[in-house]
Subunit: 151 residues, 2 copies
DNA sequence: GTGAATGCAAAACCTTTGCAACTGG
DNA sequence: CCAGTTGCAAAGGTTTTGCATTCAC
């Protein structure tokens, strides 16, 4: 039996996808930086440390390929640069307006994200993208000493 | 009493916002093109018909000002150009993957969009942005003769 | 009158593209 | 071997910016 325990750099074996060094590096970096939900530039910066010859275009390329292959997810919020996320479970993203960090937000058990909504009748929903903005727990508690003065 | 019946070009009176001809034109255009959820360029094109001297930068400017003043809403989906929407009620957007049209999606009565989600405990949610992709009713019925062959 | 808004053009930003060289299966 | 991928640089589309001029209040 194959171990799937502590391999942090698991080899990609995605349906007929040619596995290049670059793709593996990009994939590893997205895993590594998962909690910060890196942008393409952030992935590029880290990837370049591991493989100095890699180019930005290739990073974009790999990110797109991996996204199409559903190995990672592309996260968009407003017009900011896209971020990438290795969490393949259905989830939303919470953006802290103060510290700019991003949190994955899961669904309640058995819950359906589309439940509260009046979907157009007769339509077919393929995917839902949910972005939240607010203050994260940490920033919220620090908000006491926020300048309340007019500028 | 003031009529609020058929005035399609109601005058903006937003908290201390200086009302310029350009802002009024941009606001009118967003109202006018509401169903198509126009992009900044689309607003610019239509605005220029009404006021040939208006510039693109001013349109962006006005759209931002109006958004900040909560007279209109900015709608983002993936990395496409922002669209603008005069619907101030809480609502989501349904994007048809086939015909590219956009529909407003309302909440069920008394429903809370955040209900299905496990919000980070201690966080403060300010706004939620919900984008849906799929087939609109019209396009769905036309999907019978969609190529089902492998490529 | 005066601070804020406009118009213009140039710049910024993220992302995509064209193409020759390279490479994984 | 050879289609698919890379690296580079240049181009693309959207949005922002700097600044002199104009305008609403």
């Amino acid at each position: 039996m194959r171990a799937n325990s502590t391999e942090d750099t698991k080899t990609l074996e995605l349906g007929g996808l040619r596995m290049t060094k670059q793709r593996q590096v990009v994939y590893d970096v997205v895993q590594e930086l998962a909690v910060e939900h890196p942008t393409a530039s952030a992935v590029y910066a880290r990837a370049k440390e591991k493989m100095p010859s890699i180019s930005l275009a290739t990073v974009y390329n790999c990110l797109e390929t991996l996204t199409d292959a559903r190995a990672i997810t592309q996260v968009n919020i407003d017009r900011e640069a896209s971020r990438f996320c290795p969490n393949l479970q259905p989830h939303a993203h919470f953006f802290c307006a103060k510290c700019d960090s991003v949190f994955d937000v899961t669904l309640h058990d058995e819950a359906d994200a589309s439940e509260p909504w009046n979907l157009p009748s007769g339509s077919k929903l393929d995917e839902m993208n949910v972005a939240m903005r607010g203050l994260c727990p940490d920033c919220r508690t620090q908000t006491d000493y926020e300048p309340a003065l007019p500028d």
